[in-house]
């Protein structure tokens, strides 16, 4: 069973439906016991980094997620949920993330050519940087759906794929049992469903 962590941010309808579509049971939950009994965790999120980090902290779910990860449980952060995995986020000030992966979440304006539209919205091609189990069904050049104005600035060793948008943006990351996708796999058609399927197959 997959636990989609509900800390009051965003719409989890599509995520739950997409797991159902690939035959995986997933529950939306904020219950510590359910999270502890799940085989895998999804950390979703839309909105601003600071607000979401505060909600994770005030619900105590930050510590729950961290302790489950320390036990080796697979975790995948999606969109803002991926950004929260990092040390710090620079959206409307500086905010502490979960610090599960070292790095800073910065405005994409710092990385891309001036004049391009922000947010980076739409379907963009993945460039695979290193083999990764969650990308096992993905071919370089496959498109996924992005909506974001910030990107994870981290070490190349953690970056499994990128997207070009007048500069190179981090698309997916991994450190040990912790994965993250900047794009929305639940909105990326078959390619996205295959990423969720691959995540549901990773072994702790």
């Amino acid at each position: 069973m997959i636990a989609i962590i509900d800390y009051g941010v965003g719409n989890l309808f599509s995520l739950r439906s997409s797991f159902a579509a690939i035959g995986e049971s997933a529950v939306v939950t904020s219950d510590e016991r359910v999270i502890a009994s799940a085989e895998r965790l999804i950390l979703p999120g839309v909105g601003a980094f600071g607000d979401a980090a505060e909600l994770l902290h005030s619900t105590g779910l930050d510590e729950v997620v961290k302790s489950e990860c320390e036990k080796g449980k697979p975790l995948m952060g999606i969109c803002l949920g991926m950004q929260l995995l990092f040390t710090e986020g620079l959206e409307y000030g500086s905010h502490r993330g979960l610090d599960l992966i070292g790095g800073v979440v910065r405005p994409i304006a710092e990385r891309i050519e001036p004049g391009l539209k922000i947010p980076h919205i739409g379907w963009n091609a993945l460039e695979i940087k290193r083999p990764d189990p969650i990308l096992k069904y993905v071919a370089g050049g496959d498109c996924v759906y992005f909506v974001h104005s910030f990107f994870a600035d981290t070490e190349p060793e953690f970056i499994s794929s990128t997207a070009e948008y007048g500069g190179t943006l981090t698309a997916s990351v991994r450190r040990d049992n912790i994965w993250g996708c900047q794009f929305h796999p639940e909105k990326s058609g078959r390619v996205g469903l295959n990423i969720l399927k691959a995540f549901s197959e990773v072994q702790a």
Partner: protein
């Protein structure tokens, strides 16, 4: 590089797709869920569901359709039609919509754009404007294109974006239904005025119209159409091949 998006629009009334839709592979051509699945399989990059249900009582049919679609279709879904309040946003977002487009509701109450974008994020709020040339200027029309609001189109769109709209749908009443191509003059003005994604609507009659759109206004992010897709005059896989042959970046 980011790809140009192709977006079919489905008008839904009382839970059924209106405008004759004719696909051999579909047994029920007015079933929005089946049609949404068909378009997704054929390579649509996003879908727009436009609720033209007249009676309040039948609104529940629309959200039911939306939820059933979102359970089976995993590409972005935008919903429009009758969105007048933050509660309307909430109603459709809970059923699986990703973005909500506002039109007359935002003209009546521009603060709706700000309230909704604060609550759900700019990426969720799409400003849709029906625009027509009147006496040498571009005017915004409301109520499905029936009423001249007197608002100058570019000024209104800029205001909407400054209030928090994350995307703009530009629907040209002058080219809509004529099938002579998109309104590239108007679209160029909008693209020069705002820095958010711009979606072209109104006028597509054949696949070449999309090529012409992006050749003349490369900054446009997406092309939206209804009847050319519904009647099979433009097939999305063939359209994408044509765009790619013309050097345009598309998802295939």
């Amino acid at each position: 590089m980011i790809t140009k998006r192709i977006i079919p629009c489905l008008d839904v009334r009382d839970g059924r797709v209106v405008k004759g839709v004719n696909f051999k592979s579909l047994s029920d051509v007015s079933d929005p869920v089946a049609l949404a699945e068909y378009y997704t399989e054929s390579g649509a990059d996003e879908l727009v569901f436009y609720d033209i249900t007249a009676s309040y009582e039948n609104r529940a049919l629309f959200t039911d359709i939306l939820a059933r679609t979102a359970e089976r279709v995993f590409i972005p879904l935008t919903v429009g039609g009758g969105i007048n309040s933050v509660e309307d946003f909430d109603r459709v977002l809970k059923c699986g919509a990703d973005k909500v487009s506002v039109n007359s509701g935002a003209i009546r109450n521009p603060c709706l754009i700000r309230e909704a974008s604060k609550k759900y994020g700019d990426q969720c709020v799409v400003l849709s404007a029906d625009i027509k040339r009147v006496g040498g200027e571009f005017r915004v029309f409301s109520k499905g294109g029936r009423e001249d609001t007197g608002l100058e189109a570019i000024a209104w769109i800029k205001r909407g974006v400054s209030l928090g709209a994350g995307e703009v749908v530009v629907n040209s009443i002058d080219t809509d239904g004529v099938k002579g191509g998109f309104d590239t003059e108007l679209l160029r003005l909008v693209c020069d005025a705002v820095s958010v994604p711009v979606i072209a609507s109104g006028g597509a009659g054949c696949a070449e119209d999309f090529v012409k759109l992006w050749r003349e206004v490369p900054d446009v992010d997406a092309g939206l159409a209804a009847s050319v897709f519904h009647f099979g005059e433009v097939k999305i896989p063939e359209l994408k091949n044509l765009l790619a042959e013309n050097g345009m970046s598309v998802r295939r």
